[in-house]
Subunit: 309 residues, 4 copies
C-alpha cells in the first residue's frame, strides 16, 4: 500500500483498495451498475468465497472509480490463522486464480515486485513475499534451463524497492528503470492494501490484471503501475492489512447519524471536518499483525512458487 | 505496551496509559481530585512541557485508576522528528527527570527491560532502546570497575523478553526469575504505551516510579511490574505510540453525541456496543511510525546511557 | 554457540562442539577409547547418516573432553539446501531422534531456549527456531488443554535470551531464573555450533541429553546448561554453522607439516603461535549462510512442533 | 562486496578489494611500480592514517590489477569501536575525503546505492548506511529546495538493491535502469569489501573514484559499477569486513613454506590445490561483527549526511 498517500478516493468515499468493497457500497444502495459484471462462488467445505468483479468499460470504471479489468477477490477467514490443514488448499486456490489472470508462466520472464515498507509491520507483506520466492533468472542465465532437471520453470527475478520516504523515488520510477534494463514479459506486484472494513483484514486476497493505480485509477499515470505505465503485462496481488483511521471513525459515525435520521448533507459536512491532517495520517491494524503477515506472506510465496514451477 | 490486553480500564473509560490524560478527563469536568497534586512547567524556547502528577494516597489512586506514585510527563512535539538540533536538549531533559525519580545511578546494579514485541513496529520501542544501551555488567564482572578508565559507571544489564504470544510466559514471570538470579538494585522498564489522543503519539515521554500495572493498577498483581511484585525499585519509561481503535472511534462519537444533546446513559450504552471483539483487537498508529520509533528509541537509549555514565 | 568464548578445548585440540568430530580425531590415530560406544546407521535412499556416540563413564568423558551422555549426530548433505522433497523426511528423522532422547512430550511442560545472537547470521539459528515454534503455555493456562480440539499437546514456552554482550548476563543466569519461576519439566536448548571441518557446516544436527557445556565440559558449571546446573532435564539441539578461523588455518598447516615430516612438538609449537588474539576472535562461515540458516531453522522448528503435537 | 564471486584476482594473488594491500604486496618485494603514485599522511593525535594510491596510466593499472584512478584509504583502529569521543573526528575526516574526490555536492542530484546482502551481517554495511541517510529528492520535488529553510542541500535518493541470489539480477542492471529513469549526476556506491589481512577488518575506509569492478577491473564491464558502465560519475565507499577463507589459510601457509625454504613453484602448486570449491565459498569475519557494522554504518551515514548538507 502507499500508506503515505492521501486517503480519500475520487468519489470522496472512505478509501478502499478492494474493488469488492466499492461494489458493495452500491449494493447497499441497491443500485445496478452498468459496465460491471459480478460473479460469486462459495466453497462451503473450505470456507473460501471467490468474487469476480469485471469492469468492462469506461462507464463501469467511472462508477467504480477503478480501471477497466478483472478483480478476483478470495475471502478466506482462516488465511492469517495458524492452521496447518488449511495451508495447502488456500495456496492452491490462490495459485489457480493467479494463473487464470496471468496465463501460463513456464518459460516466461517474470519480475516480482514486493512493494511496501519492510519496517512497518502491516506494510511488510510485499518484501516478505519476495524473501521466500525461488529466484531463478541468474541461474538460468548461467546454467540454462536444464539446471533444475526439468525444462519448464519460470524465469523469475524480484525486487523490493522500498517506499518513497526511504528512496526519494517513486516506485514506478524504480520499476520502469529495472524493466527497461532486464525486459521481463510479466510483472507481478505484491502489496498490502487498505480495506474499508476491519472484518476483511488479513482474510482477503485480491488478484487483478489492472495493476496498481494510486489515487483510484484517475489521472496521475506517472505513479501507476500498470501495462500503460510500465509497458508490460502487470498482475497485482494484494491483501488488505490496514483500514485508514479516518475510515473507521467515519463509518461508525455515518451508521449512527444515518440511524438518527441525519440527512446526507449533514453527514457529509461532519465527515469532511473529520478528515483533517492528523487522523488522515493514521492507520488501524490488528494487534497480532506480525503473525498474520508472516503466515500470509508465506502462503503467497508458495502460491507464486507453485505458479512458476 | 501489552497490546494483547483488553482495552478498557477500571473506570470503563477509553484506555490510556498516561496519568496526564486521566487527569485531563477530570479537568474537562472541572473536578478537583483529592489526593492528587499537579505541577506544570513549560520551556518556551525548547518547546518542552513537563507535567508532574503526584498521586499521594489511596483516594487519589482510586479516583485516577492508577497506583500511588509520581508520574512525570515530558511533552515535546519534535520528539519523533528529524531535527538534529533538538536531539541533545531533549536527551538531557529526559535524563534529568529519570535521575530525579531514580536517584543516582553510579555504581548501582541496574537491569533494563525492553518490553514489547520487536516484530510490531509501534511496539518495538522497548527492544530497540535496549539494542543501543551500553551494557557493562559482564565487563565489570570480568575486569572490575576500572575497565572504563573511570570509577563510577553504572552496572548495566538488559533483556528484551518478548511478549506472551511469543514466549508463552508473562513478562512478570520472566523478569522475576532473572531478578532473583542476578539481584539488580533497580529495574528500569521501557515500554510503548497507549494514549487516548492521537495528538500525543510519539511526542510524549512518561516517567514514573510506580512501574507498570496492566489493568490500570487494580488487582492482578501477578502481571504488574512494580516494587511489590518484583521486590526491587522499578522506574517505568513509556512513550505513547498507539491509540486503541475503540478509543478513537468512541471519542469522536462521544463528542458528537454529547453535542447533539444525548445523555450520559445513552452515550454509555452506545459505547458498550462498540467495544466488541474485533475493534477491541485493533490499534491506531501513524503511517511513519518506523521513523518515529527509530528516532525516539535512539533518544531514550542516549538519555539512559547518560544516566549510567 | 558462544562465539565470544575462547576457542581451544581442554585437550588443546582445535575446538569442535561435535562429539562425532572428537571421536574422529581418535579414529585417525586408530585408537580405541574405553568408556565410549559408537553406533552408525546409514539410509542410502535418503542420504542420511546417523551416528550415536555414547560416553558411558568418567574415563570416556576424560578422553573425549565431553560430559557423560548420548550424542546423536544426523548428517544430511541436503539439510541446508533448497529441496522441497527432502524437507519432510529430514524433519521426521530429527523429530524421531529428539523423542528418542527426550521421551514423550505430550502434556509435559517444556521450555525451549533459542541461544545465540540474532544479529550475527550464523549465530541466529536458535532465535530463528524459536520464532517459528507453536507456543501454547499461555493458551493452556487460559483455556485448558481442550483449546486445540485435542487433549494431548505439549505445553510449550520459549525464550531467546540473547548473548552476554547484549545482556550483560550469562545465558545460564537468565535461564535458571526463568526456570525457577515457571517450573518446566524439560528444557530444550537450540544453538549454533562450531565444527572442526567446513564440510560439516549446515549439514549436521547434533542431539544430546548432556546439555551444553562451554569449555568442553570441564569445570565452570556456572556457565553450563545441563541438568546439574539448571535442575531439570536438558536436551540440546545444535547445528554447526561456523569453524573457528584458528582451526581452519591450523588444520591445513598440521596436515602439511605432518606430510613434510615435522614432529608433533614442532607442529604444536607452530600452532600455539598461531592461536593469538586476533585470529582467535574470527570465525569462518559459508557465503550463503543466510539461506542455510533460514532453511535449517525452519526444519528444526517443524521437527519440534511435530514432537509437541 | 559480492561475496558470491570467485576469490582470486587477475594476478592469481589472494583477493583483496583494497588498492593499498595490492600496493603492499609489491612493497614486500621492494619493487617500484611505474604509473603508480603513493602519498601517506599520519595524524598521530587522532591515530588516523591516510594513504592515497593514484594509478595514473595503463601500466600502473596492469601492475596493480585495478583500474586507473585515485584510491584513498583511511586507517583508523578505533573505527568500529565504542568510543563516543572518536565518532566526530573520524566522521569529519571521511566527509572531507569524500568531498575531495566527489567535489561539491550541494544542489547536485545524487543516488546512493547500498550494495550487499542485508541478511549476512558483514555484508549488511551498504544497506545499513542507506537506512540512516537523510533522503531529500522527493521532498525537493514536492516542496522545492526551500523546504529545509536553506537553499543548498543535496538532492539525495537511495536504493539497497540486494544481491543476485535475492533478485536474480546483476546489481549493475538494477542501477543502470534506475539511473536511466531518474538521471542522477553522481552515484555513490557503499559496499563491504574483502581484505587480505584480518588486521584491517572494520578499521579501514577506502574511497575511490573508480567505482567497483568485480574481477579486479579486467574485462566484464557488464558487471562493473563505474562511469563507463553507468554513464555517470561514480564514487565508491568501502570498508573491509571479511577476509576470504582461502586467503587466510594460504597467507599463513605461504609465510611458513617460504620460511622453510620452499620455492615459489612448490608454494604455488600447494596453493592451487587449496583453492578448491568449498573453502572458496567461505569467508572469515570477527565474532563481534554485528557491533562493528552497526557503528561503522552509522559513522558513514553521518559522513555522507554531512557532505550533502
Amino acid at each position: 500500500m502507499d500508506i503515505k498517500n492521501d486517503n480519500t478516493n475520487a468519489a470522496g468515499l472512505p478509501r478502499t483498495d478492494l474493488a469488492l468493497e466499492v461494489r458493495e457500497t452500491f449494493e447497499e444502495d441497491n443500485v445496478e451498475i452498468q459496465g460491471v459484471v459480478l460473479k460469486e462462488d462459495y466453497d462451503r467445505k473450505k470456507d473460501i468465497r471467490v468474487t469476480t468483479v469485471i469492469i468492462k468499460d469506461k462507464k463501469g470504471a467511472d462508477a467504480m472509480g477503478k480501471p477497466i479489468g478483472t478483480y478476483i477477490t478470495i475471502e478466506a477467514p482462516k488465511l492469517g490463522e495458524e492452521d496447518e490443514s488449511f495451508h495447502e488448499p488456500i495456496t492452491k486456490e490462490i495459485a489457480k486464480y493467479i494463473k487464470e489472470l496471468a496465463g501460463d508462466m513456464e518459460n516466461r520472464e517474470i519480475l516480482v515486485a514486493g512493494l511496501g515498507n519492510r519496517e512497518v509491520t502491516p506494510d511488510a507483506l510485499g518484501p516478505q513475499v519476495v524473501d521466500n520466492l525461488f529466484i531463478t533468472r541468474h541461474l538460468i542465465k548461467e546454467f540454462g534451463h536444464g539446471f533444475l532437471e526439468k525444462q519448464n520453470t519460470g524465469n523469475v527475478s524480484a525486487i523490493s524497492p522500498g517506499v518513497m520516504a526511504q528512496t526519494g523515488m517513486e516506485t514506478s520510477e524504480v520499476l520502469r528503470g529495472i524493466i527497461r534494463e532486464t525486459m521481463p514479459k510479466l510483472v507481478i506486484v505484491i502489496d498490502a492494501l487498505a480495506a474499508r472494513s476491519i472484518y476483511r483484514l488479513n482474510k482477503t486476497v485480491q488478484i487483478t490484471d489492472t495493476g496498481i493505480s494510486p489515487g483510484s485509477g484517475v489521472g496521475n499515470n506517472r505513479k501507476a503501475l500498470n501495462k500503460e505505465s510500465l509497458g508490460v503485462d502487470v498482475i497485482a496481488l494484494g491483501v488488505p492489512t490496514v483500514v485508514d483511521a479516518a475510515t473507521i471513525v467515519s463509518d461508525t459515525m455515518e451508521q449512527f447519524m444515518s440511524k438518527q435520521g441525519f440527512g446526507d448533507k449533514e453527514i457529509h459536512q461532519f465527515m469532511s471536518e473529520l478528515n483533517e491532517e492528523t487522523i488522515g495520517n493514521m492507520f488501524v491494524t490488528p494487534k497480532n499483525i506480525d503473525e498474520s503477515i508472516k503466515r500470509i506472506s508465506y502462503t503467497l510465496s508458495e502460491a507464486l512458487n507453485k505458479c512458476f514451477a
